[in-house]
């Protein structure tokens, strides 16, 4: 049996609301199928499954908010002893359901999962108040050392996502949780006298959400406040933990823009390339030359990554931002990058991002040029080690070979983690990027 758990879609996510199931018990699922939609505090995200098998049981119903790591569904993996046909699994699941074939209440669910101690209806809230024991018999696998560390630091193991074999929680998982939420109460919204109850009510007080198969998606909630808090947690951690250094350079964009203009003349509107695309490609290519900037700082260790997944900061109209990843950006052509970017921006704004797109970024680009900003001094998104910022390309006096000219000039900045790299490498990166932008046809 495989457990399909509430994923962590970013170092700042602690819980998520299940919005919708795309599968039902008995359905066959394949690796990378999207089987559920989860609302983080930032957006509605489509969640992929990483097992092959048959959905055995669904444990969390739409509308429920559960901690990261909670088992959402059980998947019977292929080749497991006693594999049943899809039909059989469905029949079995139906047999387990109360008359009518639907789960009406939390009590029924709790009662079904633990028949030996059925919870009286009056105590349902108490049952719901124990997220440490998701309604499954599966026990949490924790290494002895991790268990000891968690006890010392008062960390609730049930909210952790294990990265060890078979999802076992290891010391590193406890330590990274300790980094995000040091001992004490979870991060709360800053006290604001006029603010009403925070949208994330403390768990122990949360009443069981109304659950029925016909229930609407959860009531529209205050995205902005929740997203603000999520951003606050990540950015506060960044500023607290990451010793940033900043480098800045001015880049003559005339060659790139000329090339882009001639390229776009050949294209119909929908195939046109936005100026930010060659910038993304130049970043990706420069990272292949300076790979130290592409990766993470985790467990007091620099962990450069081979694949270059560029997180692109996308501002949302309702406020806040989200940084989905353009996967393997260095391997994509300019056209493929444009396509990927358009697709990401569209889905980010309509809420259709995949979980892997939200968690895989190895570096981030933020471009504020649309608004006329000249220079961006970025805040690194942990655990990444670098962020590249672009301002607006604007005409400026430019001296070259003893001549003064007017050129379109872009100010590019690099914010980098001084634990992972030093200014010299950062400078090499900006220099490489500039070089690529002077030979745009090679991008």
């Amino acid at each position: 049996m495989a457990e399909f758990r509430m994923p962590s879609l970013g170092s700042d996510m602690q819980e998520g609301t299940l919005l919708e199931w795309r599968v039902k018990p008995g359905d066959r699922v394949r690796r990378r199928d999207i089987i559920a939609v989860v609302d983080t505090d930032k957006a509605a995200i489509e969640i992929e499954v990483f097992e092959e098998g048959i959905v055995e049981e669904i444990l969390v119903q739409p509308g429920e908010k559960v901690p990261v790591g909670t088992v959402l569904a059980i998947i019977r993996t292929e080749g497991e002893a006693g594999v049943v046909t899809a039909k059989g699994a469905k029949a079995a699941a139906e047999a387990a359901l109360p008359a009518g074939g639907v789960i009406e209440t939390m009590e029924e669910m709790a009662g079904r999962a633990t028949p030996e101690k059925r919870i009286p209806p009056g105590e349902a809230p108490a049952a719901a108040a124990a997220p440490a024991a998701p309604p499954t018999a599966g026990r949490i696998k924790v290494s002895p050392y991790a268990r000891r560390l968690a006890a010392e630091r008062s960390i609730d193991l049930s909210v952790l996502k294990g990265t060890g074999p078979a999802g076992a929680i290891r010391a590193a998982d406890v330590e990274s949780a300790a980094g995000i939420a040091p001992a004490g109460p979870p991060v709360e919204a800053p006290p604001a006298p006029l603010e009403e109850k925070p949208p994330i009510a403390p768990r122990e007080k949360a009443p069981p959400p109304p659950v029925s198969p016909t229930a609407e998606k959860p009531a529209v909630k205050d995205y902005q406040a929740a997203m603000r808090r999520a951003i606050a947690a990540a950015m506060a951690r960044s500023n607290r933990e990451i010793p940033h250094y900043y480098l800045q350079t001015r880049i003559d964009m005339s060659r790139t823009l000329r090339w882009l203009e001639s390229e776009n003349q050949k294209r119909s509107i929908k195939d046109r390339i936005l100026p930010v695309v060659p910038l993304i490609k130049a970043v990706a290519m420069a990272l292949t030359e300076v790979p130290e900037l592409n990766g993470y700082w985790i467990d007091d260790r620099h962990q450069p990554q081979e694949a270059i997944h560029i997180g692109f900061a996308i501002a949302l109209r309702q406020g806040g931002l989200i940084t989905p990843a353009i996967l393997n950006a260095d391997l994509k052509s300019v056209d493929e990058l444009m396509e990927a970017l358009r697709d990401l921006v569209t889905r980010a704004r309509s809420g259709g991002l995949r979980s892997s797109e939200l968690t895989d970024a190895t570096v981030t680009i933020t471009s504020l040029g649309d608004l006329g900003v000249e220079t961006v001094y970025g805040v690194i998104y942990p655990p990444q080690v670098a962020l590249v910022g672009f301002g607006k390309t604007m005409e400026q006096p430019w001296a070259e070979n003893g001549m003064l000219a007017v050129r379109p000039v872009l100010t590019a900045t690099l914010a980098a983690d001084h634990r992972a790299t030093d200014g010299h490498r950062g400078a090499q990166f900006l220099d490489a990027m500039n070089r690529y932008l002077q030979e745009p046809s090679k991008l």
Binding site: A146, R147, G164, R170, A172
Partner: protein
């Protein structure tokens, strides 16, 4: 090592053992060497070459092909006040002397109510990897480490090859020294004044913080090579040389596990009922709450050692297997 480069000299493991024997013969007239082909032939592995000429046939004694006989004679000589060094050509032939070692040497002190110590040293080559077939490639030192009443040593470095013998001879009880035959040609640096070393402590041969590789003898160098490769990937492995297989210096490896939280035992013996199993159990008993991953073992494949070179290499623990396993243990989602 602290005396500076000029006082170091390069010697082979074989030369280091020979020097140790020579020094013992010179220092103590009760010491003598006996075994198959140790005299005129100079030793099956050429360890005792030249010693017959130097010390004469009374003290460098060739024996008949009878392990049971000459090990028994060694026990008798030790009981009679001598300090014999008995060479059993390889551990494979020690089985012929198992009764003498286990039923006599190991228990005399006990059976005599504490009256008779047996100050006997047995040297023997061990290990596989030289294409000499299944009956000549065993690593049975772990078996002897099972027996109370004897000490079992496993020198890996030239310094230990040079220094363990004298300390073993000074021990009032039987000591078995297993020399991996693949190490005899290995060169190492020895301080000019190298001499006796302790025989009861393990050593940390490389410091690290992410995983502990526990090994001995030839596997030590495979583990060190693996640690070097792992280090390039950002994994810092601590490498422990057990040196003494009985008694086990468990404090050294338990302390290391308390630091790294992961342990991989590399042992050329077979896995089932092995020394590696013993070490794994000790870690479970003594450092359970320090473990962040299950203890793993890398042992020889449980087959009679194949003769074919590629099959023999596949059967023995190798550097790439150590690296793979260590990486899996340290990295997420292993």
């Amino acid at each position: 090592m602290t005396n500076g480069v000029e006082t170091l000299r390069k010697v082979t493991y074989r030369e280091a053992v020979r020097e140790a024997i020579r020094e013992a013969m010179q220092k103590d007239t009760r010491v003598f060497l006996m075994g198959e082909d140790v005299g005129h032939y100079g030793g099956c592995f050429a360890v005792s070459k030249g010693l017959l000429e130097e010390f004469g046939p009374e003290r460098i004694r060739d024996t008949p092909l009878s392990e049971s006989g000459f090990v028994g004679a060694g026990i008798g000589a030790a009981l009679g006040g001598m300090r014999p060094i008995v060479e059993i050509m390889t551990v494979n032939f020690s089985l012929l002397a198992a009764d003498q070692i286990i039923n006599n040497a190991a228990v005399y002190l006990h059976m005599s109510g504490g009256l008779f110590n047996v100050p006997l040293v047995i040297r023997s080559a061990t290990g596989g990897g030289r294409q000499v077939g299944a009956q000549h490639s065993r690593s049975l030192e772990g078996w002897f480490a099972h027996i109370p009443g004897i000490k079992v040593l496993s020198p890996a470095t030239v310094e230990d090859a040079r220094g363990m013998l004298w300390t073993a001879l000074e021990d009032p009880d039987p000591v078995l020294i297993f020399e991996n035959s693949g190490l005899y040609n290995m060169e190492g640096m020895l301080p000019a004044g190298a001499g006796a070393v302790d025989i009861d402590r393990a050593r940390v041969r490389r410091e690290g913080k992410d995983i502990t590789l526990i090994s001995y003898s030839a596997s030590l160098f495979k583990s060190l090579d693996a640690a070097e490769i792992l280090s390039r990937e950002g994994i810092e492995a601590e490498v422990i040389d057990l040196r003494s297989l009985r008694p086990l210096d468990e404090k050294t490896f338990l302390d290391s596990v308390a630091k790294t939280h992961r342990a991989l035992v590399v042992d050329e013996g077979w896995r089932t009922g092995s020394l590696a199993a013993e070490i794994s159990a000790r870690i479970m008993e003594g450092a359970f709450y320090e473990l962040d991953a299950p203890v793993e073992r890398l042992c020889s494949a449980e087959v009679p050692m194949p003769y074919a070179k590629h099959l023999e290499e596949a059967a023995l623990p190798q550097v790439d297997k150590i690296v793979d396993l260590a990486r899996k243990m340290v990295k997420a989602d292993g």
